[in-house]
């Protein structure tokens, strides 16, 4: 046997591998981003796959990003302040006495197939999302409309009794159930987007969520872009809609949304020049980008709170005592938590509602270990003696675990409390949350619209989301008053009062206000920070001349 043969073989194999790679490389590769810059196409990482493209079915922020490109509501958000701006409606007026909005639709608004967008289309769309048989998850966003809830829950069968009426093709009248200070903001929420009645009828999609009307080739929208490709796990591609009423001001030629669920893969794709922007950044990588002052890093505060809910009905008596709950709240260091554990530029949360231009809670927690120890002793548990072990439940994730371990340590050290961590998969965690089968549970809330009510409603007695078991008649009174209040200032005052009660009783532990952290290339212009992470694409354009050093290799 000659050594010659084996050496030749080895060389041949190395040759094959190198050849294959060189073939793939073929000299200087033009990155997808530079091709896209030339073509005016935005390449966006978009988390996981969209659950659907039907705006009345979708659930997640990733889904609504696509909806915003394909559909347009009565209003659209201002890119920075999120104030409602004219969308399909060119103007509107409100009658205080009858609680009625009248929207004047622009005559030039068209569907992507050329049909005019009419007031009747909106009536049809609202009827569809409220039809009980569609089972739309977010239908309750429309409960601000008169009789919408009754219709959606099935007690009212006649849709003409619901407060939506087309006076003519271009005039839409909406009567409210109760004064809703944020109604115009609601109008740009995905649930208020119109769907194209002939398409829905053609696909028999009035009550069927799986009709497939919203696939490329059949979806008809009224937004700045039309759907051209939709492959699960691969890409959702939209291209400029020539029939859009304001097409002259749309500067992007198209957008490709890449569903990249693996956060590390998304970051790699960005560094590879395959994306203009990512949906997120893996938390272990944040520090590296921040420390190197990367021009690509963007930290955007958003309207959401990370907190723990305390089960006040738990058999383990201690937690039903507000003093114990307050002690747990005061014995931790939130600033250290966001600085050293979560490390994503989050703001420590000393109340439930995140600060906004409109409303910042006056009642704030003041961390104080000595006071915490005093309260615990006063409740009958000096140095934590006599308290049964408390279980802290979270859904399995490194981040949740890191936060939980930090707090467990603080409670042990500062209060002598024995808090035991347990984690389960998300569905099981959901189940136990709904059934109030926990002592303390990891929770969190992202606002559906920019208004404090989205947070404060969580702890009202009639809310089914938070099963803390905590009920307070005064709290409910202020929440109810705010629902009915027409004076914006008085309404915010009701919220302040309610939040003060909540922060005195603390059936929860606020930890931090969320941020959205992502990478974005300098060519992308007009992608503004705002609290709802809502971006209208009319505002965004690509400037290939804007360059920065390439992402670190």
């Amino acid at each position: 046997m000659s050594a010659h043969l084996s050496r030749a073989r080895i060389l041949a194999m190395i040759g094959i591998l190198a050849g294959a790679l060189a073939l793939a490389g073929c000299g200087a590769r033009e990155t997808p981003v530079s091709v896209a810059n030339r073509e005016g196409i935005l390449l966006a990482g978009n988390g996981g796959d969209p659950s659907s493209l039907d705006p009345q079915i979708i659930e997640t922020l990733n889904d609504s990003r696509i909806s915003m490109a394909l559909f347009e509501g009565l209003t659209i958000p201002d890119p920075v302040t999120l104030e409602p701006r004219p969308g399909v409606a060119k103007s509107w007026e409100y009658d205080d006495k009858t609680m009625t909005w009248t929207f004047h639709l622009r005559a030039e608004a068209k569907w992507s197939n050329g049909d005019p967008v009419t007031a009747g289309d909106f009536v049809f769309s609202f009827q569809r999302i409220l039809t009980p048989a569609l089972g739309a998850d977010y239908a309750n966003m429309l409960y601000a409309i008169k009789n919408a809830q009754a219709f959606n829950e099935g007690s009212l069968k006649d849709f003409t009794k619901v407060g939506v009426k087309a006076l003519d093709d271009h005039t839409l009248q909406i009567q409210l159930e109760h004064p809703t200070g944020y109604f115009l903001e609601l109008c740009y929420h995905q649930t208020f987007l119109p769907v194209h009645p002939p398409t829905i009828k053609k696909f028999d999609a009035m009550t069927r969520r799986d009709s497939g009307w919203d696939k490329a080739g059949s979806l008809v929208g009224n937004g700045p872009f039309v759907l051209t490709k939709y492959v699960l796990g691969d890409v959702v591609e939209v291209m400029k809609n020539p029939n859009y009423w304001d097409a002259a001001h749309v500067r992007l030629n198209g957008i490709r949304f890449f569903p990249i669920a693996d956060v590390n893969a998304e970051e790699r794709a960005f560094r590879n020049g395959a994306l203009h922007l990512t949906s997120t950044l893996p938390s272990p990588r944040i520090a590296a980008y921040r420390d190197s002052h990367s021009p690509f890093l963007r930290i955007m505060p958003v309207y959401g709170t990370y907190f723990y809910t305390i089960n006040t009905r738990t058999a383990k008596g201690a937690l039903s005592d507000a003093r114990v709950r307050m002690a747990m709240n005061l014995a931790i260091d939130r600033q250290a938590l966001v600085d050293h554990v979560t490390r994503g530029g989050e703001l420590p949360a000393y109340a439930l509602t995140p600060p906004s231009a409109q409303y910042t809670p006056q009642a704030q927690l003041h961390e104080d270990v000595a006071e915490a120890r005093r309260l615990l002793a006063e409740a009958g548990y000096p140095d934590g003696k006599g308290t049964p072990p408390i279980e802290l439940l979270y859904n399995t994730s490194d981040r949740h675990r890191a936060v939980a371990e930090t707090l467990q340590e603080s409670w042990k050290k500062n209060l002598g409390l024995d808090v035991r961590l347990s984690n389960v998969a998300t569905p099981a965690w959901m189940d136990r949350r709904h059934n109030a089968d926990y002592d303390i549970i990891r929770a969190g809330w992202y606002a559906d619209y920019l208004d404090p009510s989205t947070f404060l409603e969580l702890f009202s007695s009639d809310n089914e989301m938070e099963q803390s078991g905590w009920k307070n008649a005064d709290y409910d009174k202020f929440i109810l008053a705010a629902r009915k209040e027409t004076d914006p200032a008085k309404r915010l005052d009701d919220f302040q009062q309610a939040e003060a009660i909540l922060m005195a009783e603390v059936p929860f532990i606020p930890l931090y206000y969320y941020t959205t952290i992502f990478l974005i290339r300098p060519e992308v212009r007009g992608y503004e920070n705002n609290l709802m992470d809502e971006h209208i694409y009319q505002n965004i354009y690509l400037d290939p001349a804007a360059t920065a050093p390439e992402p670190q290799k």
Partner: protein, 308 residues
């Protein structure tokens, strides 16, 4: 009918009851996991949740659901996808299974070419540097998991050198790294198996006869020895190819390949019962088929084995 052929046919028919048993066990097993497809972080209204369960028949007794599922399955309807209602299981399989199959075939090619080559090199001069070197490399390939190797290769060829795309399945270049990462582990096994059985075969009388007849070393090694040493490799390859062509969660996630491997894990996590069942059945079917093909091939290479 010759006994070999009859035996092969019977084994082929046995696949059907095995599939049914696997499907039935899976059907009931996945339902024991707490939670359901409509449990989300943001709670549905009870009406919406109830409606969804009713729409998909999840409110019916389990045995009714089972009979319905089986009936639809026999009629080619693999069921809905709850989380992505735009799509059916049939559509997703039609879209994605070919992609995973293609990746699997490339990976098999890597496993075969690299594995057989390395095995033959090692066996050509046992207990020399070329043997130890090749086997050490094989050991490294076995120990190096794809979730480490994949990102390392991407770091070098995708980020440092910027030669390849780090995501997608569009160009020929997109095939190279995933196929290597997926195939290398199996190549290492094939190399070890080939070497072992080659060494065994080399010691036998017919090899000496072949040499005595004046055949060159290459011909003896590659024709006489390799052919007879292939049995264990084929036995190993049959289930391996079945695994490779039905997708890999890790490789498909790292390289963002829209195949069924990723879907399998996602389906399990999000309680996509019909999708999970279809993928399990598909995997079982492919596994059994490849095992069957492997058995038939071994019988053809060495008719003695079929009679035993």
């Amino acid at each position: 009918m010759p006994p070999v052929l009859r035996r092969a046919l019977v084994r082929l028919l046995e696949i059907i009851p095995v599939l049914w048993v696997v499907m039935t066990i899976t059907f009931f097993l996945v339902r024991t996991v707490p939670g359901g497809p409509f449990d989300r972080e943001r709670q549905l209204t009870p009406e919406a949740a109830a409606h969804n369960n009713e729409y998909y028949g999840l409110d019916q007794p389990l045995y009714v659901q089972y009979v319905k599922y089986l009936w639809n399955f026999l009629h080619g309807d693999l069921g809905p996808v709850y989380v992505h209602p735009d799509w059916t299981v049939n559509e997703l399989l039609a879209q994605k299974a070919p992609i995973s199959a293609e990746l699997g075939l490339w990976a098999t090619l890597v496993a075969l070419v690299v594995g057989l080559g390395a095995g033959v090199i090692a066996a050509a001069r046992p207990r020399t540097a070329s043997d130890y070197g090749t086997m050490a490399a094989a050991m490294v390939a076995i120990c190096l998991p794809s979730f480490v190797l994949g990102p390392i290769l991407l770091l070098i060829f995708g980020l440092k050198l910027q030669w390849v795309n780090v995501m997608g399945w569009n160009t020929a270049g997109d095939r190279v790294l995933p196929s290597i990462v997926l195939g290398l582990y199996y190549a290492a096994y094939v190399a070890r198996l080939t070497r072992g059985s080659m060494l065994e075969v080399r010691a036998q009388d017919f090899i000496r006869t072949a040499r005595a007849k004046g055949n060159g070393p290459a011909r003896v090694l590659l024709v006489h020895a390799l052919r007879n040493a292939l049995g264990p490799v084929i036995a190993f390859l049959a289930p391996t190819i079945a695994g490779l062509v039905t997708g890999s969660f890790v490789v498909e996630s790292i390289f963002q390949i829209p195949g069924i491997g990723r879907m399998f894990v996602e389906a399990a996590l999000s309680h996509e019962y019909p999708l999970l069942l279809s993928l399990t059945v598909l995997f079982t079917l492919v596994l059994l088929l490849f095992n069957w093909v492997g058995d038939v091939l071994i019988a053809l290479l060495n008719p003695k084995a079929a009679v035993d």
